[in-house]
Amino acid sequence: MTSSGTDARIALSVRNLSKHYGGAIALADVSLTVRAGEVHALLGQNGCGKSTLIKSLTGVVIPDAGEVEVFGEALHMPTSDPHTRGIAVIHQDIGLVDSMTVLENLGINAHYGARLLSPVNVKKERAIYTDLMHRLGVEFDLDAEVSSLSPAERALLAVARAMRLMDGDSTEQLFILDEPTAALSKPEAARLLDLMRRVADLGAGVVFVSHRLSEVMEVCDRATVMRAGRDIVEVKVSETSRAELVAHMLGRRMDDFFPTPPAFDGGAARLVVDRLSGERVSQVSFRAHAGEVVGVTGLAGMGQEELPFLLFGEHKPTEGHVEIDGSPAGFASPGAAIRAGVALVPGNRLRDGVWIAGTAEENVTLPVIRRFSSWFGIRSQAVRQRAFELMAQVDVSPNRPDYAMAGFSGGNQQKVVFAKWLQLHPGVLLLDEPTQGVDPGAAKALLNDAMDAAAAGSAVVVFSGEHELLAAICHRVIVLHHGQVIAELHRDGLTEHALLEACEAGPSEISIAA
């Protein structure tokens, strides 16, 4: 379990990897070197080729040219069974089955240590995982159903699952973590990063993909930045700065990562929430005023994921009431909420936000399509024109309303979702994790649009676990703990650090297995 003598070993060496999709270049002569024992960040904007690179390593994508070596041995393309070569990829979509237990989920990729029809030795399985967890310094109830776990626990579980395949004796392991922390709040992400660091110290190579640069600065040794299908630079993280990394990613400098909120000196109360309770939310009261940006945060599972759905009429509150612009607003359905001037940009874009096989035009014009209806049916020219204008306003690239949503990068998809709601000029704009999985350039553009909406008189409520973002863009942040408001921070005392402390101030029985 020592990493001695592995310093100079190369865990992964990618040389001149290329991939074309017809005329479009996804990867152009990309090279990447990951040393054993290091955490290597792979950075770049959405659509820069990171995913294609990772998919090449796992055999999902067949590259046109290039060589890959894993711990000095050539990996033949396309690879059929990457984990026999010590490669494990952990995606943001972690691939656990909710209705099965932790143990059942853990065993699946190791065939439960048995042949197809021979009995599973549950005792042995248990012993293996208990030992593995112990080594990783985490603890799980192996019989708990996965549905009862927090997002962070799921991510840790996925790492443990991958560890089983890379058996303890061999240090020739390569972990690729693709935005594992995207859905996690800061303290939970910290646990995962900690685990990642430990795995690397045991001698494995770790590739870390994240849009959260603060995490990269904190935990990574080196970083490779990609842009437009090329590797732009490889740097030592200790010798660079965030601004420099972002400059490499964007190809230009960006001085501030977040916009500042518009000036606010009291406006009419647009959203009044009074002792609202529902699933995971209890007795929440707060107000949001015209022109104000209010943040709502908390650890994962503390209620800030459910609150927007309660306000939007998607989930039913058990008690309490809500007022919009002075009139009662206990919405029976999202449709009613929209008619009252509320808009929700959902946190899980693929699940709740877009029809991925539909065109951008169909997605962006959905809430207003009725207005384009005449006796002879939808006026398609006018709809196309509207879609084009809306997408131009939020700077979607390429501005092609006729493309399927699946053809756009994550950042551009999110821009389409923003455009869809901003065209309604909502009085109350609910943003749930608005920049999740979106690169810094697109994130700033999106938040700028939200700030403009506030400046125009909307009350903007941002639900997020990203404290840095909230500290930058909010006039006020409320902190939830077990569904209750435990703190409210105002602009003058609003820092990332203060938010983190407020989140963790609650009773510590919530912190997951230490």
Partner: protein, 342 residues
């Protein structure tokens, strides 16, 4: 598809300040071929058949083919109503038979035809509501739930007819289906009218877009203010109502009700609907695609039969066509990842 793959450009000025002119669409051969392959296939097949078989050069063969398939076309179009929403309504064929049996039996008992038809349509509405209750309200998987109503209705048809073939359908029913307009029986005209109506609703109205959205991502549709469950319920009721209307056509068309005939009409409409979804508006259940698909299947089967094939050929043909259709849709869908849909 290749030319349409969007690439991310680093140039931030692209697409900005150009509000007035939507991007000019370059002609896309891949998409064009995908759209019209089925229709082209139909035309080629007809031309080949005309060259090979003398019978194909007579108008009467065409009218026979069209007329014989009108019931299946009506059922296939009805199937798309619920399929578009991402659900199944397998019960349409058996709703048709049960309604036919009910109406036939009622008129035999002396109930006036008009009233009997109304009661028959009422049965369709009830079936739709029960399906909707199970699928939309309670959340049962639509395939299983409507397979249940399919089977229950078939038993109901046997009960109504006492397991016998009922003949002696009143003339007004026969006329309703078989009277000719321009040499073509009314039932074919009904089918074509339904094509136009569904085309209008699917392609030209907000409801048509809502239905696709519901089929594509139910959560996103609901969170965009679309009344998802109301539309799904409505679709089941419309599906049941159309199926019972087809039942009324069905007894007139055959002049008799055979309670065992329902399962023969189970698969064909779905084969046509799924194959139709690979044409014209690719990846979406649509009216004209269903028409083209069904006629392609019909011409193919007729040709095979002219070559001396047995009647079992049509089952093989329809089954294989269904498998080909869903396979093609799957392949096109995964390839289209970076392309566009229409």
């Amino acid at each position: 598809m290749t030319t349409s793959t969007p690439t991310r450009t680093a140039d931030p000025a692209l697409g900005k300040h150009d509000f007035t002119t939507p991007a000019r669409q370059s002609f896309n051969w891949g998409a064009f071929t995908e759209r019209w392959a089925l229709v082209g296939g139909l035309l080629v097949l007809v031309l080949i058949c005309m060259a090979v078989f003398p019978q194909f050069r007579t108008a009467s063969l065409f009218t026979t083919m069209v007329n014989a398939q009108s019931l299946v076309l009506l059922l296939g179009l009805t199937a798309t109503v619920v399929l578009r929403l991402g659900d199944f309504d397998l019960s349409v064929a058996q709703t048709m038979v049960a309604t036919g049996a009910l109406v036939a039996q009622l008129t035999k008992m002396g109930v006036p035809s008009g009233l009997a038809v109304l009661i028959g349509l009422g049965l369709g509405v009830v079936v739709g509501l029960v399906n909707a209750l199970l699928v939309v309200r309670i959340g049962v998987d639509s395939f299983v739930a409507t397979l249940g109503s399919f089977t229950a209705l078939s038993g109901f048809a046997y009960l109504l007819t006492n397991s016998r073939i009922i003949s002696g359908i009143p003339d007004e029913f026969v006329n309703f289906s078989r009277s000719q307009l321009l040499g073509i029986p009314l039932i074919s005209w009904y089918a074509w009218a339904l094509v136009i109506v569904l085309w209008y609703v699917y392609q030209r109205t907000p409801l048509g877009r809502y239905s696709l959205f519901i089929g594509g991502n139910r959560n996103a549709a609901r969170l965009s203010g679309v009344p998802v469950n109301r539309i799904r319920t409505g679709a089941y009721v419309v599906s049941g109502l159309l199926a019972s209307f087809i039942g009324v056509c069905f007894i007139g068309y055959f002049g008799a009700v055979d309670p065992s005939v329902g399962s023969q009409y189970m698969l064909q409409p779905f084969a046509a609907a799924f194959l139709g979804a690979t044409a014209i508006s690719v990846g979406r259940f649509n009216a004209f695609g269903t028409v083209a698909a069904l006629y392609l299947l019909t011409v193919g089967i007729t040709a095979l039969q002219l070559l001396g094939a047995q009647t079992w050929v049509s089952n093989v043909f329809y089954g294989v066509a269904l498998m080909v259709a869903v396979t093609a849709a799957k392949l096109a869908g995964s390839r289209r990842g970076g392309g566009h849909t229409r």
